[in-house]
């Protein structure tokens, strides 16, 4: 299940005359169709699978016509592979220049998972070029964005690229601007937030099940329990045993229940689900007691939507139960406690003890590295002696190849020797990142997304949209890496601002290097606040969590398939 499902679902393809649809996998492709269309992202791995299948067909004496569609574009490397295998001639090759993938009503992504690593580690600017291009495309559709604010090295480069592209284009878009400002923000401005465990519902689902292309894989018994099994379970009073078969379950704001609960803090979720269940129950009761024909007809109209809600409620309750089991466990609590200590800058010793214990127990390397990075960024580095000790512990436990992991992390500055300036303390204080006595059921600050810690990146955006902008927090901006800029893009003639007064202004926020679900939740929360009074559209290179972010840096001996 790739991100293709987000733009073209099987039904649509079928309606366009496709007879059979196969997910691409290793092994021979058995089909009677004469025409075969492969839709793939340019990845050498896929090329090999395809060549094998084509060769197999040739051996079996089958004559077929092949087309290959690259999304978003083909690479020379891929063509070379096909050429070397001697099958290039069999294909008609197309490109489908899809660069921005819509994920939800307010979230779009380029799906470039490696951009952070590519630029910062390898110095490869290709992904930044794609970022700039996507912005040009956006402006072509919605008009030139008058105000651009940005922070960070990548943002600066992207801004320069846009300016150049505009000049080269000569002709200007004459579309009236619909988006009034753009905020560019680099991921390495805020490496603290993604390393923390997300505590919104959607964020936790992502941490535990890892959301891929808006869907998670759940046990079949949760998503589609068969009638028979249900009856069995009811009669015996036993829970349905998990079948072990995983099926995808989509998460999208079309799901009414989900859109209401996705952004809330997990601790209040049970209450919400309970209330929802009662609402539906009430409705069913009312339905039974209705007498008149017209009333029944009215109810029937709503029944379908209620049934849908009912089903999704049932599934979400199951997910919540599973997550609760995990969040209640002492190891999870301990991890959160360590994170909170680091964020608040207290009780460092306990954190160090916890970190050592995790290594000794050989917990997942992701967990250890995440904590270490968080330790590093909240303490402005790690004391050399302690760092040496930790390195030894990690390398002896997880294997010597982790030297390369450290090499990567050090090059990025995610792990470094301590410098005496208490940078993070200043930032935390100035930006008010730690909110105590927070009301989670009726939050008044974005800090609810991490149960008390306000994500730094979103706090910066919050300041940026105020009238005084970033000027009021100049000191903090200087402490954060990379240049800060604020520019006005002159509007082309003919495209006068016709901001309709009846609509909230829209700000486009571009997270270069990835964004977490909790940060999205925090932004949605911000737009609902009166003082902000604007809508946000979020654009990013990739939806991430801490694990995915560091996945690029951790050295693995066995290549992942």
């Amino acid at each position: 299940m790739g991100f293709l499902n987000l733009i073209a679902d099987p039904q649509y393809l079928q309606s366009q005359g496709a007879e059979q649809i196969f997910p691409l996998k290793r092994g021979p492709l058995e089909t009677n169709c004469k025409n075969v269309v492969y839709i793939v992202t340019p990845d050498i791995k896929y090329m090999h699978i395809i060549t094998d299948q084509v060769k197999q067909h040739a051996m079996d004496g089958l004559k077929k016509e092949y087309s290959l569609v690259f999304v978003p574009r083909g690479t020379i490397l891929c063509s070379r592979v096909l050429e070397e295998e001697g099958v290039l001639g069999n294909f008609t090759i197309h490109e489908f220049p899809l660069d921005i993938v819509p994920f939800d009503e307010d979230v779009l992504s380029l799906e470039l998972g490696n951009s952070y690593k590519e630029y910062l580690l390898d110095g490869d600017r290709t992904s930044l070029f794609y970022v700039a291009k996507s912005l040009m495309k956006f402006q072509a559709m919605f008009g030139t964005i008058p105000v651009v604010k940005g922070k960070g090295q990548c943002s600066r480069l992207v801004m320069d690229m846009i300016t150049r592209m505009r000049k080269e284009m000569g002709e200007e878009f004459t579309v009236p601007p619909e988006i009034d400002s753009l905020i560019l923000i680099d991921r390495d401005i805020d490496t603290v937030t993604p390393m923390c465990t997300q505590l919104t519902y959607e964020g936790l689902i992502d941490e535990i099940y890892s959301i891929k292309n808006n869907a998670i894989f759940l046990d079949e018994t949760i998503v589609n329990p068969s009638q028979q099994q249900q009856q069995q379970a009811q009669s015996t009073g036993k829970a349905i045993p998990p079948s072990g078969k995983k099926v995808p379950f989509p998460l999208h704001s079309n799901d009414k229940v989900y859109s209401e609960i996705r952004d809330t803090n997990f601790s209040i979720l049970c209450g919400l689900l309970n209330k929802k269940a009662k609402d539906i129950d009430e409705y069913y009761k009312k339905f039974k007691s209705t007498q008149s024909i017209t009333a029944i007809r009215d109810h029937m109209k709503k029944l379908a939507s209620y049934q849908m809600e009912h089903n999704s409620l049932r599934i979400h309750t199951c997910i919540t139960e599973e997550i609760l089991d995990i969040t209640k466990s002492s190891s999870f609590m301990k991890g959160i406690e360590a994170e909170q200590n680091l964020l608040a800058g207290v009780n460092l010793e306990a954190v160090e003890r916890y970190l050592e214990e995790s290594i000794n127990k050989k917990d997942s390397i992701y967990k250890v590295i995440r904590l270490l990075i968080l330790y590093n960024s909240t303490n402005n580095g790690i004391k050399p002696k302690y760092l040496e000790f930790i390195k030894r512990e990690i390398i002896q436990t997880y294997g010597t190849e982790q030297i390369l992991t450290f090499y990567n992390l050090e090059k990025l500055g995610l792990i470094r020797k301590s410098d005496p300036k208490p940078t993070f303390n200043v930032i935390r204080k100035e930006l008010n990142l730690i909110i105590e006595d927070l009301n989670e059921s009726n939050p008044s600050d974005i800090a609810y997304t991490y149960s008390g810690y306000a994500p730094l990146s979103v706090r910066l955006i919050q300041h940026a949209i105020r009238p005084s902008g970033w000027r009021s927090i100049e000191e903090v901006m200087r402490l954060l890496p990379g240049p800060t800029f604020e520019e006005i893009q002159p509007l082309p003639q003919g495209a006068t601002t016709n901001v309709k007064s009846d609509r909230k202004p829209i700000t486009l926020v571009y997270f270069i290097g990835g964004v977490t679900f909790s940060e999205i939740s925090a932004l949605r929360f911000l737009s609902r606040q009166d003082q902000a009074n604007r809508d946000f559209i979020i654009l990013t290179t990739k939806l991430i969590n801490g694990n995915q972010m560091i996945d690029n840096f951790i050295e693995k001996l066995t290549p992942d398939n």
């Binding site: 050592e356 000794n360 030894r392 390398i395 294997g399 030297i403 390369l404 450290f406 090499y407 001996l557």
Partner: protein, 117 residues
């Protein structure tokens, strides 16, 4: 870079050569980090040689495991003595060694040994 190649070399001798090159590189550098990495890579050579010996005498695969994993496996195979010598050889802190030992013994259900310890 040599290290990267070293790890990917399936051939035992080739791998060791790769490590040695990496070590030479690390030692020419004055940076303290690199010195540490050099030392750790030396340990890796020692470990792989040792693992080869163990494979020979115990008829069990050891290659590719980290130091902690090797100790864990040795305890699981009732080779406590060998585990102890590994501990001192690589200066494994007591704390971590105990963790490994407890984990291994509890999997073995060797409560007697666990109590003694």
């Amino acid at each position: 870079i040599f290290l990267y190649e070293g790890f990917r070399n399936p051939d035992f001798d080739g791998r060791l050569k790769g490590y040695q090159k990496a070590i030479d590189c690390y030692h020419t550098s004055k940076d303290k980090d690199d010195q540490l990495y050099g030392k750790l890579t030396e340990e890796q050579i020692k470990l792989e040689v040792l693992q080869k010996e163990l494979e020979g005498s115990l008829q069990e695969p050891f290659s590719g495991m980290s130091i902690s994993d090797t100790i864990f496996k040795l305890i699981s195979l009732n080779q406590g003595k060998r585990a102890n010598s590994l501990k001192s050889e690589f200066k494994v802190p007591d704390k971590r060694f105990w963790w490994i030992k407890i984990k291994a013994l509890s999997i073995l259900n060797d409560w007697e040994e666990l109590m003694k310890f």
